[in-house]
Amino acid sequence: MFCYTKSNMAKLTRDDVLKLAGLAKLELSEDEVDKFTLEISEILGYVEQLQAVDVEGLEPTYQLTGLSNVMRPDEIVDYKIERSELMKNLPAEEDGQIKVKRVLA
């Protein structure tokens, strides 16, 4: 139950990791790329065991207690939170609005 063999198979390349980082909006140092290439490959090697499992006739489980389409009345509820309370955490604002950097480089 607790044994595991480390997969030596290089599951991911450095380029794969760089691509993943880009998709997730992360910038990695050279050392980080090396480290994550190894570690993530190992973890993917471990979860590889799922491929061999026979799941014939089974459906995925996305929700555990059988709830679906939980609705609420379409009414405005006043949660008594001041606009200023929501704005106080903004890193940058102008005229009461969120200020963002320019989109095009």
């Binding site: 992360l26 799922l50 955490n89 480089a105």
Partner: protein, 476 residues
């Protein structure tokens, strides 16, 4: 010996005016200060707690009954949104974040007179099994400072064992309440999925995240759960609570004729000998008390960790995409365009484990690999759900160890993420199938605690707490 009476007695003493809420808050703050070197606490809410205590004391002088938790101090894991201090989830990216509203769980406890006195350390965003992934510092085990307290609710659990407050709140996504309870010698309760609203709690893996108490006794856990449980319009996954509630009466049913299944897969090779010995003794004690003990096999259990480490990172990568440096928390402002602010904020603000999980999640959800990893894991999850359902047709409860080992050394597993993940091998299946489970301390020969895990079917929280209370009294 604890400086705190039971939660119920403390609230009744405060309500009757025998002791004051202010005295309780001062006692908690003093203990927090005295035991600072364990790094259990990120911040205290001293000013707000003192104010609330004064208000409560005034109301009691005015003849009011303030509620079932009148003047009871508690400590919240720092992934609960609270007033009175920053909410950081022990992450650099949320540093400076002041919550504009409080978690439903906190609101419900406060409505009964409880007072939040501090925010506890955790693995950043609750990613981890030792608190070593906290972006700030590592919490130390109250029984041995060279050992970890377990995680991710390690600060909350240590705070209760260090007697800082009568109870603490944790979250459990793959074992984060039960594992530290086992490592530190506390009672840790993980309710049925959805029983406690998660509104206002920093999301990790939404299909398994739950909120629960860490306490010294099962009765305290039951009372705190009773107050937090039930539907909340702010969390559409919340479920109704048991009609009878969860507060336990001192005299409950006995163990005679109760059918309890020992999980064979959890008692197999790989279990530390002391843990096996301690759990076997506990099982024997339950048998002596009249329980009918049988072996039960759930053949897919060895796959649970692999399922978890596909589903959890997938949900993490999605939940952490909101940290973009635009609305709250850390933001790298001295950048030239929007894409740079995203990248630099996230690269500086997230620690190693968050980055690792975000990238694994991004991988298993990406178009070429979605079916092979994410969908396949969700289907294997169904296998687990069915095996648990079948097991609960044969027995009322399942038992086994909470963890295969006692607390490991600080630094021992940090360089090997996969080995660290294996710490959760006995707790994750419960989260994947949504059933309730509790870790109760076992008698030990050595000083390091060991937890007995008891598991029940979905919605059987009340029965589980009842049998856990019986077990606790038998093992004492």
């Amino acid at each position: 010996m604890s400086q705190w009476p039971s939660v119920k007695d403390l609230a009744s003493d405060v309500n009757s005016g025998r002791v004051s809420a202010s005295e309780q808050v001062e006692k908690a703050l003093k203990t927090i200060e005295e035991k600072k070197e364990f790094n259990a606490i990120i911040a205290t809410l001293a000013d707000r707690a003192r104010q609330r205590a004064k208000t409560i004391d005034d109301r009691i002088k005015g003849g009011e009954n303030v509620g079932r938790l009148a003047g009871v101090p508690f400590i919240a894991k720092d992934n609960f949104l609270t007033f009175g201090a920053e909410t950081t989830a022990a992450s650099n990216i949320l540093k400076g974040f002041e919550a504009p509203y409080q978690a439903t769980a906190i609101e419900r406890l406060e409505a009964e007179g409880a007072i939040c006195v501090a925010k506890a350390n955790l693995d950043a965003f609750a990613h981890g099994s030792s608190t070593e992934n906290s972006d700030f510092f590592t919490t130390l085990n109250p029984h041995d400072k060279s050992k970890v307290p377990g995680g991710s609710s390690g600060g909350s659990t240590a705070s209760v064992v260090l007697d800082m407050a009568p109870f603490a709140l944790g979250t459990d996504t793959g074992g984060s309440i039960r594992l530290p309870a086992s490592f530190c010698g506390a009672v840790g309760y993980k309710p049925t999925y959805g029983l406690v609203s998660r509104s206002g709690v920093v999301a990790m893996a939404s299909s398994t995240d739950v909120i629960g108490p860490l306490t010294r006794t099962v009765a305290d856990s039951a009372l705190v759960l009773d107050i937090m449980a039930g539907t909340d319009e702010l969390d559409s996954t919340s479920i109704v609570k048991d009609k009878l509630g969860y507060e336990l009466s001192p005299t409950v049913a006995n163990l005679k004729g109760q059918k309890i299944g020992v999980i064979s897969e959890y008692m197999s090779e790989g279990l530390e000998p002391e843990v096996k010995d301690s759990i076997n003794k506990a099982i024997e004690a339950l048998k002596q008390a009249g329980a009918e003990i049988v072996d039960v096999s759930l053949p897919s259990l060895p796959l649970a960790l692999a399922v978890y480490y596909v589903i959890c990172p997938a949900e993490v990568s999605s939940n952490l995409s909101r940290y973009d440096g635009q609305r709250y928390g850390f933001s790298k402002q001295d950048t030239t365009n929007l894409d740079d602010i995203y990248k630099q904020t996230r690269s500086i603000g997230f620690g190693n484990e968050a980055k690792r999980r975000i990238m694994i999640g991004t991988y298993v959800l990406s178009s070429g690999f979605y079916d092979a990893y994410y969908k396949k894991a969700q289907i294997v999850r169904t296998k687990l759900v069915k095996e648990f359902e079948d097991a609960f047709k044969k027995v009322e409860f399942l038992i086994g160890p909470t963890a295969p080992t006692t607390a490991f050394g600080v630094g021992e597993n940090i360089a090997d993420p996969l080995k660290m993940y294996l710490t959760d091998i006995m707790t994750v299946a419960v989260n994947l199938v949504g059933v309730p489970a509790i870790s109760v301390p076992c008698p030990v020969s050595d000083k390091m605690p060991i937890g007995l895990q008891i598991i029940a079917a979905q919605h059987q929280d009340r029965k589980l707490l009842e049998i856990a209370q019986l077990t606790e009294s038998i093992l004492k």
